[in-house]
Amino acid sequence: MTGGIRVGMSEIAVSRAPDVLIAIGLGSCVGVCFYDPLLKCGGMAHVMLPDSTQILGAGAEITKPGKFADTALPELLRKVTELGALPSRLEVKIAGGAQMFNFNGDNGRMQIGPRNVETIEQLLAAMNLKLAGKNTGGNCGRSVRFDLATGMLTVKMINSPDIII
């Protein structure tokens, strides 16, 4: 996966066709992709943690909005609308949120990956955005490639063929 715009942990990137946005090595992180199929533009946020208000307290200063689901989604929306995208047209796809390590006796508490996915889905519903596809959970790391020419999100994992959503 080379020749694209790399979106590192806690970053947000937006662009237009024919660019490709790439997030490599999503473990418990989630890649959230917004796409406007008419204008062929969109963006990706590489979300690390679910909720900034729980972790930092309400009103804390956020240096990297892409880090938390609750700050990343509005920021990603703002950035894609700046490119002209209409919220009502947006197709949303998400991938990631795995639980890669299992410690013995660590099962009671829900881990960061599943919590990220759950929070993102709740936020999307609250923002009235429709989820067009997802590949989340499990215990495998993922690399994702978001093609802004087609809106297709290719998910790569070890030990399994690529999945296109």
Binding site: G8, L49, I55, T63, N159
Partner: protein, 206 residues
Amino acid sequence: MGLQHLTSLQKDAIKEVSNIGAAHAATALHQLLGEKVSMTVPKVSVVPLSDICEVLGQPEEPMIGVYLRVFGDAPSKILYLFPREEALFLAGLLLTEEDRQENGDILGELEVSALKEIGNILTGAYVYAFSDFTGLNMLSSVPALTYDMVGAILNTILVDLGASSDYALLIETKLLACEVKITGHFFLMPDPGSLAKILDALGVKD
């Protein structure tokens, strides 16, 4: 304590104590395997979280990761990364032929167990020496193991640092064993609050 503002004296002090830990770990592994084991001088680096998956250069390369948490006065994380073949070779040194169950993509239960045990023994020796030198009370968790992309392993382990920092402190040592047939990577990653305690214990807080 801003990670970006570590002085070279502070980095040297961290390097020194890690070196002592690594030497003990190498000795422990040598005793376990009966093979020559060495560890390189630790490299101390401060990496932005957004670049974490690139630290070994090949973020999509699958590797075996053994991960432990360190509790006590200076909570930290410890990670061992081995290429799959080398990890299996290492595990094989502890197992008999009948024990070996590795089959295609699946790691056998005993291989997993052997690799976790190696992680345990290395960590025990490392943490003991680190704790002895600094006077900080430290205790390691049971190990967890995964086989996945290096980038995803590193991201997942360091994700909780994001709550309080945009950077991670990595103390990396290479572990060479069996005539360099085995080249593992060892990482010690102090949690954000732990660095100040370690520096204080080493007498280089300011």
